[in-house]
Symmetry: C2
Subunit: 346 residues, 2 copies
Amino acid sequence: MPVTLRDIAQETGYSVTTVSRALNDYDDVSPKTRRTICETAERLGYHPNITAQHLQRQRTDTLGFIIPTTGPRFSDPFFTEFLAGIGNEASAQGYDLLVSTHSAGPGELDVYRRFVRGKRVDGLLVVRTRRHDSRISYLLEQHFPFVAFGRTECNGNFPFVDEDGRAGIARATQHLIDHGHRRIAFIAADQDLMFGHERLRGYTDTMRENNLPVDDGLIVEGDLSQRSGRRAARRLLDLPETPTAIMASNDLMALGAMATVQAHGFEVGKDVAVTGFDDIPLAEHSHPPLTTVRQPIYRIGEMVCQVLVDLIRGGPLKRRHVILEPTLIVRQSSAPAASSATISVG
Amino acid sequence: MPVTLRDIAQETGYSVTTVSRALNDYDDVSPKTRRTICETAERLGYHPNITAQHLQRQRTDTLGFIIPTTGPRFSDPFFTEFLAGIGNEASAQGYDLLVSTHSAGPGELDVYRRFVRGKRVDGLLVVRTRRHDSRISYLLEQHFPFVAFGRTECNGNFPFVDEDGRAGIARATQHLIDHGHRRIAFIAADQDLMFGHERLRGYTDTMRENNLPVDDGLIVEGDLSQRSGRRAARRLLDLPETPTAIMASNDLMALGAMATVQAHGFEVGKDVAVTGFDDIPLAEHSHPPLTTVRQPIYRIGEMVCQVLVDLIRGGPLKRRHVILEPTLIVRQSSAPAASSATISVG
DNA sequence: TTGAAAGCGCTAACAA
DNA sequence: TTGTTAGCGCTTTCAA
């Protein structure tokens, strides 16, 4: 049923070889032959079998991306935007994207192994790096092409794109301190996550630099979901001495925290300041709009993908390590009640 | 470098065929031979080349999913959850997932064509069906296996999973009417989208059934983003006679509308009721929590995937058409100020 | 300018 | 129980 090179060869009387060359724009085919062949291909509705090409070329023109989900009801707007970035870039570069979903932990590495061993993809994108990341150790040890969004603490040298989360949180912290906050709470992320670790550091460092005490009671860990943000904020507001500001390691938890603050009858941005990290589109539309640290998520997706393609193609990498400077976006959730404009502080 | 069947054959002295059979658990291999072969395979670190298997088997064990993005900064939590559903189910069934991102419109169909013609995938998942959907016409005409999330108006018979959006919105509308609302506005979605059309119908039908006027001035169209929800609500609140309730075709727009209502100094759920559709996780954590119509997004992803796999495997489809009954989730954004509990109305 | 032949790595029908 | 042979659809030497 499907039309193959052989069908065209038979139809035109040329050999499969010549047909292949004509169709692939080789220059050792006479114009007339080429025309005949192309017309016939057109007429019969020929389209190359991609799998056969893959086998022959010994590459799949496919990139792998394993999304580290966190439970069944996984819904992080971060990933749609990131996916759009890598998806569009991949397709612009002529690559397909093979996506798998797996929760972090046991079994996750098996997916990586399958892709690598089976030569299922030409390269991999790794996100949410851990401080000691077994995925990265594995890929490094297999000499498999990959690019990470995020660094690690100990896996040696590999190409990555990262944002300076420590600096981002430092700016947000300083912003709060400058507005007179002293009791500032922090909703941390899993400390195995590199960015969770870095962001917490940004907070503790800045507190210390300003000679403010770092109170362990004011640091609560969440799992990046709104729900956990709510819960964390509840614990913080139940303290004998409540904080005047709550910083969260990501926007989703910040949004959850805002809900709790409001449920306690406080006004966010006036009684209690709340800040996030990521600047997902919702941050701008929450009530009140959320002060946060912007990451250009879509752009990061594009960049990571771009670097990976360069790596696969063997071209020299312009930049093996990219570190982006995050931007503090001040909105009403942290502004003094008077101000209401959105101010961007570079 | 990579170990192939031939390497094992050479190492053990058996033929490639025997090696293949031993490794694939055929029963016409002597136990001793099998053991030798398996041990050698293990020792050499053999793993089958997946591409070669695909070519030989004439199938890719891969499902295609083309995400219809809406602009670069695409970030709809709906899709992460949906993706988690199909991703997990696909992997449970032994399928990989090839994901592509493309905005609806010109060029989109090319991606479908490439996947179909190149035999890149064994089947496709189609979402956000349009009333006249060229993707579906194409797949139908190519006799290519696919399952849609959503129906169409005219494309004939094809397998789909859908929720009864009309009934869902009808319930929400009735809920508002029962609470005394009369001037109810509706933020519609693109009317080419089947669900956009259906949801609007649910609203107009219910208004008429209750002998309430359907005022065109109270119907505004948005593009499903929060931003457009904001804008739409702004237009509605600028009307000489403002509505007492605003229904949106999805949660994202409802969240945007809430922001506008609040910016106008109204209290959501008291002065103006707001409702959404989808029940994305954020709906529960907004301020106030959003009354909405629940779709089991993750579950729908699983189901669509399951049906597609059945279809590909040629098994008889238990259910070619699945229509889910949506559930109204009443929260504070529509409840009379007194009530504050979450009530689920089946 | 063209074609024959080999081969990518695997599976399967058929014979021995 | 095992091997021979063929072939999936394509690309790419190499020789004519």
